[in-house]
């Protein structure tokens, strides 16, 4: 049978075979790897994010490090220095720094990798129950093999992609939370196949599972989270499988006692890991630029060395044969050969221009910046005791250049807590969002669980006095019109809702006295201010994103028929009766709520006469059985029922933003950062949050759907820009504010061609923001990729869940929030923050500083090394191109490492051009980093020209002066050395704007070090011990005693830095003149325009954040959570059992049976069709 299935399904790509309880089949096919070779079919369930093993560490780390152009270059230099004929410098001059660099870097990589191993091991060691011949035994995640049957308990994380076989709940339903997959926190249900449910729960499940020998044929592992194709072949029958039967790795089992599942994809085959993308090493723009610079420097070194070699050849050919002394040294070598040797000699000699210590110092500066981020107390969150954390230590400067921020919504911008804040009943607004008043005293309500952020005593009084019938109806509607299920825990009802909005509303009703107690298939039990009432549920017209409303038709205990309806304001308002009261005041309330960015729902009621109901239900049953146009018929029927409504009121729910989100986003927008929101959530939710968190102004126009498509598809760019403007003119505000709202699939379609992608990005750059809704983790990454590809800006992705991992990895910088949703995002992020609002400080303060510090640092570093090394070129003109070093070899070794490195490190650590407060107050200053104003080719070119100038001065001024004296080579060398040290130190002093004690100390220390070590290296003791290595003995003493040397050094130093001083002075003079202007006129205007509040163009049009509800399950009666309705009118405390799952199950089972008996049930038809 299974064989037949195989042959039939092979053609459709269903080739992945999983045999249940059959380890001996899967184990031999396990995937193994050695070095880079892989074979085998089934991955094990081990997570391996580490890179090195004991064996591969050394070769891999060396391979990685020598991929860096600079390291490789220096390796060559070291090799060359070992060849005596070209060794212009002793071998240790380059060898020691290179070894240090390699060791430090290797140690750092090793530590990071060990950290990864530890976190992997933590995941791999999580416990889970695997079925073996001895029954279920506890094992670890890593032991899970394809084909294993697993038992998962409530609130456990699913360890692999499982086929749901059965659960302890009726119909083998189970609920999972997919927050780690798609960021949605509402529960989703999964249901086992009928056949497995029926067969495996017919007796003791665990015994029945042992002989289970089904074979699953399905797709090869892929990363598509929402699709799955497969077949289960069992007992000679073939059953089709769809995504609803699959429990994905990383989801959490909720509200379900136990489920049993068959592992289909494990480890790296699982869908979430397939979605994670691979580990990418991120390089910053500055670093890439630096690498280019290094290559450029190396190329120019080669060119210069070549020219000097040619010079050498000519010298050897024309001049030196005549000089007996030199030709004797040369021996038989030809001029060309001498030139060839000199070429290499000069490469060695000029190599300090490309500083080896640059990389190591660069890394050190990065590490310190990362530490400073972690130390920042203003980025420390007390509630979970989390400081900010920089996990990647090489991206700091990019924090100062971020152009696009791509943010997740749920858990990142919002707290994912919905709070009932205000309501409008009969035209009167209750509750106040602006002031923080004390909480209501709800002690009279014994069902109160707290958690109500509502404080209007008037409403409570009115409700308890029963003076206002509308308010009572309003709360009755809230308590009845929903698809929430209740669960009893500690004597209090706990609600499980498909959407957090509903939960918030039902909870609010509960707190205020209208307690939804339980539901069965056709009844709802509500305690109204302590009196329990049973409502007979006649029909449930479920929510859909098209209808944007839901209704329940109930028969009250008094026998009246009432339709309670809640939905989006536009939808409800157009269905009101003409004489419905409070319309105007309600609309005003809606506007007030909209301005406060609250999510609103209108609640209305309609009395339905017995006759209407009979007629309607009759038509409905006809429609339900109709074969053609059933959908439209049903829709019409619904329309027919949901009309002539009476407005009861409006609820206003706050989608709690994380602390400081609007301020942060508005700051970032002022800083020129484009903020995009990528969410798996619905469009409405995203748009509302967009307004709430100041992503868009109240008068921002939304570009979406067809309009967006037209804009993008208009034939030429001109037209499209023109049209864009035109369309924006319709807006009352002329500033042209617009935001793009686009769905995931729509987006994927829009940006299919590269050209369209480019257009999309360029259009988005004119908009305030882009909201991408309903995007999968993979699409999130694609959007990031899109931005990376078509704009030159640095992208930063921020998120908190596993669904953001892909995007976090793809973006230039990934930030993980250590929120509630597991640690996946943080694990993969480059920076971990506790709060979204810390982003402001991270970017505007740390990022900005880092960028400026690192740019200053790099510029200065290149300056100091090249000006010092280029002197050799000029000297070669005077020494017959013989590659004679200008300096003592010790000086060359110590110059970059000892004499000049400390001050520049201090510059890299401490420099602040603006205080943290000013950086936050004027975010506009951030945009200099986005434009890369401090390290671009032009800046670098000027730096190089300046260093060439300096090198010319450093050489020719001393030579010019000393040529009239009996100067010897060593004195000249000491003079040039001193001039070089002083010049670069003065340049450093000019560069430093923020003089801490460390800056003072290091500047002084490096001068002291220079003189001290010069004296030591030129001391008699060292010379007598090693005459050949310390040949400069005595040179410095003589030079320091010579006044002409000092005069020359002073002159040279001043002349060398004169251009720098002049430019800075001119800058001071010019900006001083302009500063006045900026302060007097521009700023107030800018601030004014910023704080001016636009006229809100937006009507509250916001409904629920809900997809298809549980309506189908409810009315099917298969919902596992319905509880026993209390029997008598007055609820006695002891009638409510603390926890009654058994009874609940029994009840539910009864419901099922009764439901099955009533075949052709009308409601069945309604809900089924509606939810499809």
């Amino acid at each position: 049978m299974a064989k037949r299935g195989t042959s039939s399904s092979k053609g459709t790509g269903i080739t992945w075979e999983v045999r249940a309880n059959c380890r001996y089949f899967h184990k031999p096919q396990g995937r193994k790897s050695f070095l880079c070779f892989r074979w085998g079919r089934y991955a094990d369930n081990l997570i391996r994010s580490y890179k090195y093993t004991a064996l591969t560490f050394l070769p891999l780390t060396l391979y990685e490090q020598f991929q860096r152009a600079a390291n490789f270059f220096f390796l060559l230099i070291v090799i060359m220095q070992c060849v005596s004929v070209i060794a212009t410098l002793p071998w240790y001059i380059t060898m020691l720094p290179l070894l240090t660099v390699l060791t430090v870097r290797g140690a750092k990589d090793l530590l990071t990798d060990l950290g990864r191993r530890r976190s992997d091991a933590k995941i791999n060691r999580r416990p889970c129950d695997i079925l073996t011949t001895q029954g279920f035994t506890t094992a670890q995640w890593k032991d899970v093999c394809v084909g294993d049957v697993l038992r998962i308990h409530k609130n456990e994380v699913i360890p692999a992609d499982l086929l749901l076989l059965c659960s302890t709940e009726p119909h083998s339903l189970c609920y999972v939370e997919t927050a780690d997959i798609d960021g949605e926190t509402n529960l989703k249900f999964r249901q086992a196949l009928n056949i497995t449910h029926a067969e495996l729960t017919s007796g003791r499940t665990e015994e029945l599972l042992l002989p289970f020998d089904g074979v699953v044929w399905c797709e090869e592992p892929n990363g598509q989270l929402y699709s799955f194709r497969g077949e289960l072949h069992w007992r000679g029958q073939c059953h089709l499988l769809d995504p609803d039967h699959i429990l994905l790795r990383g989801t959490v089992l909720r509200n379900t006692d136990t489920v049993y599942g068959l592992a289909i994809y494990t480890g790296s085959d699982s869908k979430i890991l397939r979605n994670c993308g691979s580990l990418k090493v991120k390089k910053t723009r500055v670093e890439r630029f630096l690498n280019k610079v290094v290559v450029t420097i190396v190329l120019s070194l080669l060119t210069v060395a070549l020219l000097l070699a040619v010079g050498c050849g000519l010298f050897e050919h024309l001049i030196s044969p005549n000089i007996e002394v030199l030709s004797a040294i040369r021996g038989n070598a030809t001029a060309a050969y001498r030139g060839f040797l000199t070429f290499w000699g000069y490469i060695i000699l000029l190599s300090p221009a490309m500083p080896i210590s640059l990389y190591i110092t660069f890394e050190l500066v990065h590490v310190v910046h990362c530490l400073l981020i972690g130390w920042d107390i203003e980025m420390y969150w007390e509630e979970n005791d989390r400081p900010a954390q920089a996990r990647t230590t090489s991206l700091n400067e990019e924090l100062g250049q971020v152009g696009h921020l791509l943010s997740d919504k749920t858990g990142t911008l919002t707290q994912n807590r919905l709070l009932f804040r205000q309501c409008c009943i009969a035209g009167q607004i209750y509750g106040d969002i602006t002031t923080k008043s004390k909480l209501l005293d709800l002690s009279w309500n014994r069902f109160s669980c707290g958690g109500l952020c509502f404080s209007d005593q008037r409403l409570v009084e009115r409700l308890r006095e029963r003076s206002c019938s509308e308010s009572r109806e309003f709360f009755t509607a809230l308590a009845l019109c929903h698809t929430v299920m209740s669960e009893w825990k500690d004597g209090l009802p706990r609600y499980q809702a498909a959407s957090p909005d509903e939960e918030a509303l039902v909870c609010a009703a509960r707190e205020l006295g209208w307690v939804f107690l339980s539901r069965t298939r056709d009844s709802l039990t509500v305690s109204e201010l302590g009196f329990t009432r049973h409502y007979h549920l006649l029909a449930l017209l479920d929510f859909s994103s098209k209808r944007r409303r839901m209704s329940v038709l109930v028969r009250t205990p008094e026998g009246e028929l009432k339709l309670y309806c809640k939905g989006a304001d536009i939808v409800i308002l157009e269905r009101l009766r003409k004489d419905s009261p409070h319309q105007e005041s309600t609309e005003q309330a809606l506007e007030v709520f909209a301005q406060n960015c609250l999510r609103t729902l209108c609640v209305a009621v309609r009395r339905v006469s017995e006759a209407q109901w009979t007629e309607w239900s009759h038509t409905l049953s006809e429609a339900a059985t109709a074969t053609v146009h059933r959908e439209t018929m049903l829709e019409e029927l619904h329309e027919h029922m949901e009309k002539e409504l009476m407005m009861l009121g409006v609820t206003a729910i706050e989608d709690r933003l994380q602390e400081g989100v609007p301020e942060t986003i508005s700051s970032l927008r002022r800083a020129g950062v484009k903020v995009w929101v990528l969410t798996g959530d619905k469009t409405e939710t995203a748009v509302n949050v967009g307004y709430a968190c100041k992503l868009m102004d109240p008068d921002t126009r939304l570009l979406q759907g067809e309009e967006l498509r037209q804009l993008l598809q208009s034939p030429t760019a001109d037209v499209y820009f023109h049209k864009d403007k035109e369309s924006l003119i319709w807006n009352t505000d002329k500033s042209g504010k617009a935001a793009i709202v686009v769905g995931g699939f729509e987006l994927a379609e829009l940006i299919k061609t590269p050209e369209m992608g480019a257009r999309f990005v360029s259009l988005s750059n004119q908009c305030q923001s882009v909201l991408c809704c309903r995007v999968t983790p993979g699409q999130k990454a694609e959007v990031v990729e899109l931005v990376k590809k078509y704009s030159s800006s640095i992208t930063m992705a921020i998120g908190d869940g596993a669904n953001d991992v892909n995007m976090i990895k793809t973006a230039h910088i990934g930030v993980g929030l250590c929120g509630v949703e597991g640690g996946q995002a943080v694990q993969n992020a480059d920076f971990a923050l506790a709060q979204f609002s810390f982003l402001r400080r991270l970017l505007l303060v740390h990022g900005r500083w880092s960028y400026r510090r690192i740019c200053s640092f790099l510029r200065y570093f290149l300056y100091k090394t090249s000006c010092f090394a280029l002197v050799h070129i000029w000297f070669s003109l005077y020494n017959g191109f013989s590659a004679q070093p200008m300096y003592e070899s010790w000086f060359i070794a110590l110059y970059t490492t000892t004499y000049t490195s400390l001050p520049v490190q201090c510059l890299g650590f401490f420099e602040q051009d603006m205080s943290a407060e000013s950086s936050l107050r004027w975010p506009e200053a951030y945009s200099a980093g986005q434009r890369n104003e401090f390290l671009n080719p032009l800046i670098l070119l000027s730096t190089l020209l300046y260093s060439i100038y300096t090198s010319i001065i450093l050489f020719f001024l001393p030579v010019g002066v000393l040529q009239y004296t009996d100067v010897d080579y060593q004195t000249l060398a000491v003079t040039v050395e001193m001039s070089a040290i002083f010049s670069v130190t003065i340049e450093m002093i000019l560069e430093t704007k923020f003089w801490t004690k460390y800056n003072f100390a290091t500047v002084l220390l490096s001068q002291v070090l220079f003189f001290l070590s010069t004296l030591i290296l030129h001391s008699p003791r060292l010379f007598t011990a090693f005459p050949h290595d310390y040949v400069f003995f005595g040179a410095s003493l003589n030079a320091f005693a010579n006044p002409v040397v000092w005069l020359v050094v002073f002159l040279t130093t001043c002349t060398a830095v004169l251009p720098s001083i002049t430019v800075r002075a001119l800058n001071v003079v010019l900006t001083n003149a302009n500063k006045h202007k900026i302060h007097s006129s521009e700023e107030p205007v800018m601030l004014q325009s910023w704080f001016r509040r636009g006229v809100p163009q937006r009507r509250s049009s916001y409904a629920m954040s809900q997809g298809k509800g549980f309506g189908k399950l409810m009315t099917l009666g298969t919902g596992p959570l319905s509880t026993v309705p209390p029997l008598d009118g007055k609820l006695a405390k002891d009638t409510v059992r603390a926890d009654s799952p058994q009874i609940a199950q029994a009840e539910a089972a009864n419901g099922v049976k009764s439901n099955e008996n009533k075949s052709g049930n009308v409601q069945h038809g309604i809900t089924l069709n509606r939810t499809e």
Partner: protein, 341 residues
């Protein structure tokens, strides 16, 4: 509410970790910059003037004796084959040449700073280590061995030692009166006292220490008999040898030969006619080099050096010019703005 212990990860609130270190932030303004430039410029001009005047007071007398021109007295000596040639150059001083007078010899187009030339010596040998007498280091090549005998002192530098000698005569009433050169103490103190050491005498004989070695190829005398007049001025401690071994920085250089300080000449060289007798040994014509001698007196800043003073003056003037430019720029930008306000 919560005890302190719960915040284990709380960062320290110190000035260092919070980047609030007290710091001096120099705020430059035009009011500081322009006067500063003026001051620096004036200071430079001041130094420049002082240096220039000092330098003007220094007298220098240069005499080229290469003998390229047929009319020049040393022409007959400049041929390669001529040995032990002596020539004379006459010059006259119209006024007193104040002492102390330094006497230099100068060479041009001579690459003492050539890299392979510079390393061609054995520092161990020169510090008196006799083990290296018999086995000179390979740096000395091609002047390591001669006729299978190790060369002491080995290497190119020593081999190419300058060997012209000079005598200066003052013509007094038709007769020549020798002006003595003081050749003592012309080398660096460190070179003479520490860096270079003679081998200890063997059996009381200084020459015996050099047994088994040979003199450099171009030398006429062995190292231990460089100065027959003064036993102490021999070997590696010969002053002229030390001066030569200290390599010149540039291809055109001068080296100190001696000072004129003694006896009647402590005040300097009196006005009169002088004859410089040169024993012409060192060949330079082959590579287009020149030889010269220089008489110069010195001030606190050494010999005549106009370049230094001029350079200071130029830089100083530049600063002043910049200050003026900045003032103009500042005035142009600032004052209209004030009018608006």
């Amino acid at each position: 509410m919560k005890s302190e212990g719960e915040f284990v990860n709380q960062p320290d609130n110190t000035a260092f970790t919070q980047q609030r270190l007290p710091a001096w932030q120099p705020m430059l303004s035009a009011g500081i910059v322009i006067p500063l430039f003026t001051l620096i410029g004036l200071a430079f001009i001041g130094i420049g003037v002082a240096l220039f005047i000092t330098s003007q007071n220094i007298k220098v007398q240069e005499l080229d004796y290469t003998g390229t021109a047929t009319s020049s007295p040393c022409f007959q000596c400049s041929g390669l084959s001529i040995q032990n040639c002596t020539c004379e150059r006459n010059f006259s001083l119209s006024e007193l040449f104040e002492g102390p007078v330094f006497f230099y010899y100068g060479l041009s187009n001579y690459y003492q700073n050539y890299r392979q030339y510079g390393v061609s010596k054995d520092d161990y040998q020169l510090s008196g280590d006799t083990t290296y007498f018999l086995k000179p280091q390979s740096y000395c090549s091609p002047y390591q061995y001669s006729n299978n005998k190790p060369i002491v002192p080995c290497g190119s530098i020593a081999n190419s030692m300058f060997n012209d000698t000079f005598r200066l005569y003052l013509l007094v009433n038709g007769s020549r009166k020798q002006v003595p050169f003081d050749g003592k103490g012309i080398a660096w103190w460190t070179d003479y006292n520490i860096k270079y050491r003679n081998p200890s005498p063997v059996n009381g004989s200084f020459a015996a220490a050099f047994d088994g070695t040979t003199k450099p190829v171009n030398w006429q005398k062995s190292a231990y008999e460089l100065d027959p007049t003064d036993q102490a001025n021999n070997g590696f401690l010969n002053q002229d040898f030390l001066v030569w071994m200290r390599r010149a920085a540039l291809p055109n250089f001068r080296k100190l030969y001696g000072r004129i300080t003694g006896g009647d000449y402590s005040q300097g060289l009196p006005a009169g006619n002088y004859t410089l007798q040169i024993s012409y040994n060192y060949p330079v014509l082959s590579f287009g080099g020149t030889k010269k001698v220089v008489f110069s007196n010195v001030s606190w800043m050494g010999g005549k050096n106009q370049f230094l003073g001029i350079a200071y003056l130029v830089i100083g003037s530049l600063c002043v010019v910049m200050a003026i430019v900045m003032l103009i720029v500042y005035a142009k930008y600032k004052f209209p703005d004030n009018d608006d306000a």
